[in-house]
Amino acid sequence: MLQLVLTWTISRALIVSSLAVPISLMVCRMAGTRSTRIRTLRRHPVLLAALVPLFMPDLLTGFTYRLTSARLIHSVVATELLYGGLLLCRVTALQLAVLLILPSSAISRQSIHSWKLLRTSGRPNWYRTWLRMLVLGPYRSVLVAWIGGMLLCFQEFETAALLQIDRHPVVWAVWLFDAHAAGEPLSVSLSFAARSLLFQLALLLPAILLLRVGGRRQVSLPPGAAADAGLFAGRPALDSASTGRGMVWAVRWLILCSLVVTFVWPVASNLTALAGGFRTLVAQGGLVARIRQIGFSLLDCMLVAGAALAIGRWLWRRSDSFLTVAVLLPGLCGSLVLSLILLAAFQLPVLNRVYDSWLPMLLGQTLWLLPRAFLLVAVLSVLTPQTSIHGAILLRATGSRLLVATARQLVFRLRNVRWLLAVGILTHWCFWDVTIVSVLRPVRFEPIVTRLYNEMHFGRTETLVALTCLSLLIPLTVFVVTGMIWKVVAVPGNVRHD
């Protein structure tokens, strides 16, 4: 049975992630070359719309479409298509984000073309070098995006659990949860998890390798190959192809559909319940308590995100593959297996005194978040414009007040904003995970996400919608305000550009 469920889940991940690649590439092309992508993001609503599904909570998506799935009960294919479609929206957004932020290939199309011309010259290892140039060059971003999509599909749990009827959609994580919740001992659950772990490692290791080799280090080709092929930084091959008018419209329609499915419909269909939900919360006198609950959940997740990011950076700098795999391994087990292992560990006499504290939960959340944090660090490290930062830092040493202020602003934008965003993304992921907190939280702490689950189960849609709205808005406000305060502290005084 395990074999079947794993095969089904991996096949779905393979299909969805592969389907998402051409779509995300087309959207990426619409944004133009990499040098203009980030600037375009602000002015390009289509790009922003395409990224929205990545930040919609799985809980809300699953809750909105649970009855749709129920109506498709008489067709297994339709249920699987619905789930696959929802995954496709999210995976496309993830792949787009990866393609947007990863730097362009260090190996140009011209270089590859030149190397192809050398094919008849009888150079040894020609094919090997050619393949290496392709993988580390124009296909590097695509491969990393594809792997990211596969991992996202494979680990998805919440939406599947809410949609599932008659065991469809077949999802490994849900299957494992059911097996353990029904009484399988931890050792058996771990043996079930082992195969999935191998699969995830087989995906993650090449991604790390691609980011390391093709990113911050020079690509080393055989002696003479670089000179023969004429290596230089340039536009990636896949960016340069012209995009037809029909294709542009097709992509826009796809993005619009994705936005409607993952954002507009879930919001619109629940909007009518929003006012009633707030009224109920106020009437029950629970509004302040729920806001406090969201605040504590947010604080917990921000701390965890910061810690995971710091550990991820430390791992990235050490470049110790064995240590990296060892530290990332617990998180790759998935939230259920990880939390059960920690639960068992904290029953040992030596750890039991701190069992009913925040420590087990913080540890569990940090370990779970580490693989994602590490990938973010890898991507951001590849992106960091060291030369520009160094230039800006040198500028700070000048005597001119205006220049110093400009330099500070520049350093803030180049160095700090991206890490704030990284903390924000990790916090968001941590905030909406229910499994670890439900197993490892201390008695006195009830995170808002567990409350949301219970409201959902008992069909209190109004309160659920109001709480979900608060749970999205409060963290967003906190991050915007934190960013503003940080900017004021880091960049004192206003800069006038006359």
Binding site: G183, V439, G459, R460
Partner: protein, 348 residues
């Protein structure tokens, strides 16, 4: 070129460590405390249980820390957690929203007997003679019928269930919750072989298997299925929403119904035994049974109460509950049923 970057991460890590330390100081190592407080694990819905706990706090001055169960855990979460914590329990009282899970804890030596004076008002079919657990305020297993699709009569239900195709009938996953209890009651009454034959038969005929009773209720309320097996509290959610539904009690071959009470138990080796006993006494009181009967879940009092204070629906349910099957034999086969269902799930 050496550029010192991301210095903010250093203070962030320090803040993390400081917060973790503070949290440890505030919460850590408190199991040996002797203050007037109590830790309760509660599988009953927070919205209904919280008001009962608040009332207890007001009446006694004892502070209660509650750990509610999550739907994500399918109510097995707290049971499994109590087993995991058996050697160093932090929970004092377990308030389960059903019975058989608590009976399983008894065999795992998690429970400590306590004969509450208020347990006298509960019929013997709904409590352990040794005082390991006591039932109160029950739910019933019911058929939920979509009245737009079929008549809400026992004859119509029997006819529906005898049809070759059950594609418009729904049941929840039997590994969890009250569906597991339902299966255990059948196994106790008819034997494991009969239960397995029935299970295979309804699945061969295409019964729809949802992840929980809440979804089986939705399937009928939305007209996607005509009939489902669910509980009274879920059925009342659909009725209160004005859906075209009606309910009938599920009856066993001998005509008895399946009445599943909440249960309360003292945890062996708990840190606060006296407040825990006071809480158990409180839960088993007439006052609490009335409170739960008047809640939206309309739970059925098992002991004698002032009938005039009961909602009309609960008075009707009380008649059905009077036919409830004895749960003690079901408790004995519960683990066997679960083992079989788990093996079916994993293919083991």
């Amino acid at each position: 070129m050496s550029v010192k970057q991301n210095t903010f991460l250093v203070p962030l890590v320090l803040v993390t460590a400081a917060a973790a330390g503070l949290a440890l100081l505030v919460n850590g190592g408190r199991t040996g405390g002797g203050d007037a407080r109590l830790v309760v694990y509660c599988a009953h819905d927070a919205a209904y249980a919280q008001s009962v706990i608040d009332l207890f706090e007001r009446q006694t001055g004892i502070n209660v820390d509650v750990r509610f169960d999550e739907e994500a855990n399918k109510s097995l979460g707290l049971t499994n957690l109590l087993i995991a914590e058996k050697d160093n329990p932090r929970c004092d009282v377990f308030w389960n929203n059903q019975t058989l899970g608590t009976v399983r804890l008894m065999s795992d030596d998690v429970l400590q007997p306590y004969l509450s004076p208020n347990a006298d008002r509960i019929p013997s079919a709904f409590k352990d003679a040794g005082g390991n657990w006591t039932g109160f305020a029950a739910r019933l297993r019911v058929y939920l019928v979509n009245t737009d699709q079929m008549a809400a009569t026992e004859a119509a239900v029997a006819e529906k269930l005898s049809q070759e195709s059950l594609s418009r009938v729904a049941i929840a996953k039997p590994q969890f919750g009250t569906t597991l209890s339902h299966y255990s009651v059948i196994a106790a009454e008819q034997g494991m072989d009969e239960l397995q034959a029935w299970h295979q038969d309804i699945h061969r005929r295409g019964i729809r298997e949802a992840r929980g009773n809440s979804m089986t209720k939705d399937l009928v309320a939305e007209g996607i299925c005509d009939l489902s097996f669910t509980d009274t509290d879920d059925a009342f959610v659909a009725i209160d929403d004005g859906k075209p539904v009606s309910m009938l009690p599920v009856r066993l071959q001998d005509g008895r119904t399946i009445c599943l009470p909440n249960s309360v138990a003292l945890i062996r080796g708990c840190s606060h035994p006296e407040p825990a006993k006071a809480f158990i006494d409180f839960l088993l009181s007439e006052e609490v049974e009335l409170l739960l009967a008047q809640s939206k879940a309309r739970q059925i009092p098992l002991g004698p109460v002032d009938e005039s204070q009961l909602p009309a629906e609960v008075q009707e349910l009380r008649v059905w509950a009077a036919d409830g099957a004895d749960l003690i034999p079901a408790g004995r086969v519960n683990q066997q049923v679960l083992d079989w269902l788990t093996a079916e799930h994993t293919g083991g």
